[in-house]
């Protein structure tokens, strides 16, 4: 049986690892489409042939839910993530306080779009919680996705950036300076669900498997967290 | 009538107003630069949409604005030799030549093509492209292209202007034959009276967009009142003669103007009718029959009219047999010889002053009305 999974682009490495093993073991064929969450959600709305969708954005999943495009009760919060404050490799660790402003100097804080892309939304909320947003707001350089923010720091264009914890691991040119406390921002969740159009038993099986301990181990290795029920 | 043209068109700085009918054969458009000749030809081709007008060829209307008829150019079956060549740069000479044939439904090589290629001296150029041709070569290809499409009307806008004398002399007989053998009417624009005299059945003289006068070639060229429009040097009479002998010394003898006319050998058979243009300036007058003189042609004439010009010259119209001859002499000679209407005298014409180009097969206006 062929299953089509629409998933947020940032999940690619981890999801392929888990999914491919599962496919080998079960004999099903897996087809992925990795893109931005908003694009995927709109495509599902437009009748995309997806069986399982995993977004990096709760709002879009809520939107699909509201349109009754998800199988009832299939939605789960599959993964979580943490926010990291990063700087170039070799930079000294930093406290999440006014030190940030000092370190920033007249440089830029690289973040994803603060009103549109989840990582940016969470980052802004965290800074607000920490009471730093007002001072930093004017120095934020927003990118269309988290990876671009990471690149700005990696290339030394921005002294600081806010990205997901999972993004930091494979980039040797950056280093995590601090981790934002999970209560400083709304929970970062990657919801998953089966689409109403999907008649696939295997898809439900896969969704099940993604929550298995073996899968969790892989996700953790890639820097994601597992949301506590 | 074979071609009938009635046109009215308003340019910002010129009003075109033309109305004439012409029998089959060659109709020459003559006029100063900018007088509207090309404009008329374009209207006939369908490339210019005149404000008002009616154009018909051999009874078929090509344009009739009052009836709302405007045949598109490609349905007019015309062959147009443009003033500026307009060869297709992306096609070889041969492909250019064959372009129109294809649309006329004529496929494959033809005898006509071989013949034309030879006559126009294009044999060595067939695989070249227009960009590599000299000015005259281009024009020759353009002529061939128009002829090969076997049109029902040929438009030629100064087709020979870019050619040298010998080449002109080679092409003219072909156009003549075209005129006489096929019944394709030709609208011919030229500044060269020798071409017009030789080819044209009808001449239309244009002046600043208006038709000055139209009529049979003989009448127009011999009309002293048009001498200024046509050029003093080019005014002259057309004589019609019959070949009576070809002499051993390379001269042909014609019966014309009530006497004998010796010309450098003409290709026509005995008994054939020819037309010969005698430029007024080449005619000398004598009261007595001259003797011991190199001019072979001495015609017995009667002065019918003397028309002094503004300058030192005068036109003398003479009756020679059934024909008319025009002579241009100085007023001084008119006085010295005491010329006056009614007087008889001799017209002296040198054989060699009648150019090859001035001798052509006759196409009478009577004959041509058969085609109408």
């Amino acid at each position: 049986e062929q299953i089509t999974v629409f998933a947020a682009a940032s999940l690619r490495n981890a999801l392929e690892e888990v999914g491919n093993t599962w496919a080998e073991n079960t004999g099903h064929r897996l087809r992925y489409s990795f893109a931005g969450s908003s694009a995927l959600a709109r495509q599902v709305e437009a009748g995309a042939p997806a069986d399982l969708i995993i977004l990096a954005n709760e709002a879009w999943m809520d939107h699909l839910d509201g349109q009754r495009l998800l199988q009832q009760d299939s939605r789960v919060d599959l993964l979580g993530n943490a926010l990291a404050l990063i700087g170039p490799a070799g930079a000294a660790p930093l406290d999440l306080g006014p030190g940030i402003i000092e370190r920033l100097g007249d440089g830029r804080m690289a973040m994803a779009l603060i009103n549109a892309v989840p990582a940016g939304i969470y980052g802004k909320a965290a800074l607000e919680t920490l009471g730093l947003w007002q001072e930093i707001a004017l120095q934020v350089a927003q990118t269309d996705n988290v990876r671009a923010a990471l690149a700005l720091v990696a290339l030394g264009e921005a002294p600081l950036g806010i990205v997901y914890h999972s993004d930091v691991l494979a980039e040797p040119r950056v280093q995590q300076l601090a981790r934002f406390p999970s209560d400083s921002h709304p929970a970062i969740l990657y919801p998953a669900a089966l689409t109403v159009d999907s008649r696939s038993e295997a898809a439900a099986d896969l969704l099940e498997h993604l929550q298995s301990p073996i899968a969790k181990e892989v996700f953790l290795r890639h820097g994601f967290t597992i949301p506590s029920e | 009538m074979s071609i009938s043209i009635n046109l009215h068109h308003q340019f910002p700085e010129l009003t075109l107003d033309v109305d004439f009918d012409a029998p089959a054969g060659v109709t020459a458009l003559f006029g100063a630069s900018g007088s509207g000749k090309t404009t008329v030809v374009n209207a006939v081709a369908g490339l210019l949409q005149p404000d008002r007008g009616r154009i018909s060829v051999a009874g078929t209307a090509l344009l009739d604005t009052s009836a709302g008829l405007r045949l598109p150019p490609h349905k007019r079956r015309i062959g147009y030799v443009f003033q500026e060549g307009r060869l297709f740069p992306h096609l070889s000479v041969q492909q250019n030549l064959r372009y129109g044939r294809w649309f006329a439904g004529l496929r494959g090589p033809s005898q006509a093509e071989d013949h034309l290629v030879e006559m126009l001296g294009l044999g060595a150029l067939l695989n070249r492209r227009p960009g590599d041709l000299s000015g005259g070569e281009k024009q020759r290809v353009a002529i061939g292209r128009a002829l090969l499409s076997e049109p029902r009307l040929l438009l030629m806008d100064e087709p020979l202007a870019a050619l040298d004398g010998p080449r002109k002399a080679e092409i003219l007989p072909y156009l003549e034959r075209l005129r006489d053998e096929t019944q394709v009417p030709i609208l011919y624009v030229s500044h060269a009276i020798s071409e017009i005299a030789r080819l044209a059945t009808t001449v239309a003289v244009m002046e600043r967009g208006q038709l000055r006068k139209a009529g049979p070639t003989g009448d127009i060229l011999a009309d002293p009142s048009l001498a200024h429009a046509i050029g003093l040097r080019d005014t002259g009479a057309l004589l019609t003669g019959r070949v009576v002998a070809h002499h051993m010394d390379g001269l042909s003898e014609l019966a014309a103007g009530g006497g004998k006319l010796f010309l450098p050998k003409v290709p026509n058979a005995l008994g054939e009718q020819l037309r010969v243009r005698i430029s007024a300036k080449d005619v000398m007058l004598s009261r007595d029959r001259p003797v011991g003189i190199s001019a072979l042609n001495i015609l017995d004439c009667e002065v019918s009219e003397i028309r002094p010009g503004r300058g030192p010259g005068a036109f003398v119209r003479l009756k020679a047999g059934a024909d008319h001859i025009l002579a241009r002499v100085t007023k001084r000679s008119v006085n010295a010889l005491g010329l006056a209407p009614g007087l008889s005298c001799y017209a002296v014409i040198k054989s060699v002053s009648v150019a090859r180009a001035d001798v052509g097969a006759d196409v009478g206006t009577e004959a041509s009305s058969d085609h109408a």
């Binding site: 089509t4 629409f6 682009a9 940032s10 690619r12 490495n13 087809r31 992925y32 489409s33 990795f34 893109a35 931005g36 694009a39 995927l40 709109r42 495509q43 437009a46 009748g47 995309a48 042939p49 996705n145 990876r147 999972s166 993004d167 930091v168 691991l169 494979a170 980039e171 820097g223 | 081709a45 369908g46 490339l47 598109p72 150019p73 490609h74 007019r76 079956r77 015309i78 062959g79 147009y80 443009f82 500026e84 307009r86 060869l87 297709f88 740069p89 992306h90 096609l91 372009y99 129109g100 649309f103 006329a104 492209r129 227009p130 960009g131 590599d132 292209r145 128009a146 499409s149 438009l155």
Partner: protein, 231 residues
């Protein structure tokens, strides 16, 4: 070959297929539209002109979104096409070709239109006096003369089609073997940690293909231009 994974090869092949069909099918339409814009006056000319340029002006994501709204399976045009011709664009490589074709269309039209405007109408007139109808004039005179422009336009269209990403991924998503073109694959690699090297490899492939097409088109265009110059 080891250089690329099978999946990456698939993306290369798909990109070529998409760009090829997008260009091939858009070309006649582009020529027709360019001719109309260059040689005709008609009501709504500026509207058509604007419409043609739209994909250039809009951010590609918007174009993709509009395509989704028009040719999605639930959308009126999409549904109608599926019912009537069995033609499905949504989430098929055909949709990627449609997106690529539309994105390249303004570039093709512009190049061809410029070429048409440079053709001397006197040559077309000459052809018409020789009996060629308007269509034949076009085929035998105009088209050969604009060939360098057509080639340039085709190349621009092809290059754009090879590079198009925003509209494609928004419209038909990023399904390997079906809609994952080279740029989509590059994008996907850039979204995950450590994907840069893989992305770079694909970029190199892209560039090589496009440069080959470019060289080819230059050679063809030069040959055509030489013909047109009449030498």
């Amino acid at each position: 070959m080891q250089f690329l994974s099978p999946e990456e090869w698939t993306a290369v092949a798909l990109s070529l297929r998409v760009a090829f069909w997008a260009t091939l099918l858009a070309l006649p339409l582009a020529i027709a539209v360019a001719w109309w814009l260059a040689r005709r006056e008609f009501w709504g000319k500026q509207l058509l002109n604007g419409l043609v340029h739209l994909p250039l002006i809009l951010p590609p994501v918007v174009t993709g979104y509009l395509l989704l709204l028009t040719f999605g399976r639930r959308a009126p045009a999409g549904a109608w096409l599926e019912e009537t011709f069995g033609l499905i664009f949504a989430f098929r490589w055909t949709g990627a070709a449609l997106a690529a074709g539309i994105m390249g269309f303004p570039l093709m039209v512009r190049a061809i239109r410029l070429a048409i405007e440079a053709v001397d109408p006197k040559l077309e007139e000459a052809a018409s006096t020789l009996g060629a109808s308007r269509a034949w004039v076009f085929v035998t005179v105009t088209l050969p003369l604009i060939l360098p422009g057509v080639i340039a336009g085709t190349l621009l269209g092809f290059a754009k089609a090879m590079g198009e990403f925003g509209a494609t991924i928004t419209f038909v998503s990023n399904i390997p073997g079906e809609t994952q073109t080279l740029p989509s694959a590059i994008y996907a690699f850039l979204q995950v940690p450590g994907g840069e090297a893989s992305a770079l490899r694909l970029v190199v492939i892209s560039v090589v293909i496009a440069m080959t097409a470019l060289l080819l088109s230059e050679t063809l265009a030069r040959r055509a231009a030489k013909r047109v110059s009449g030498r």
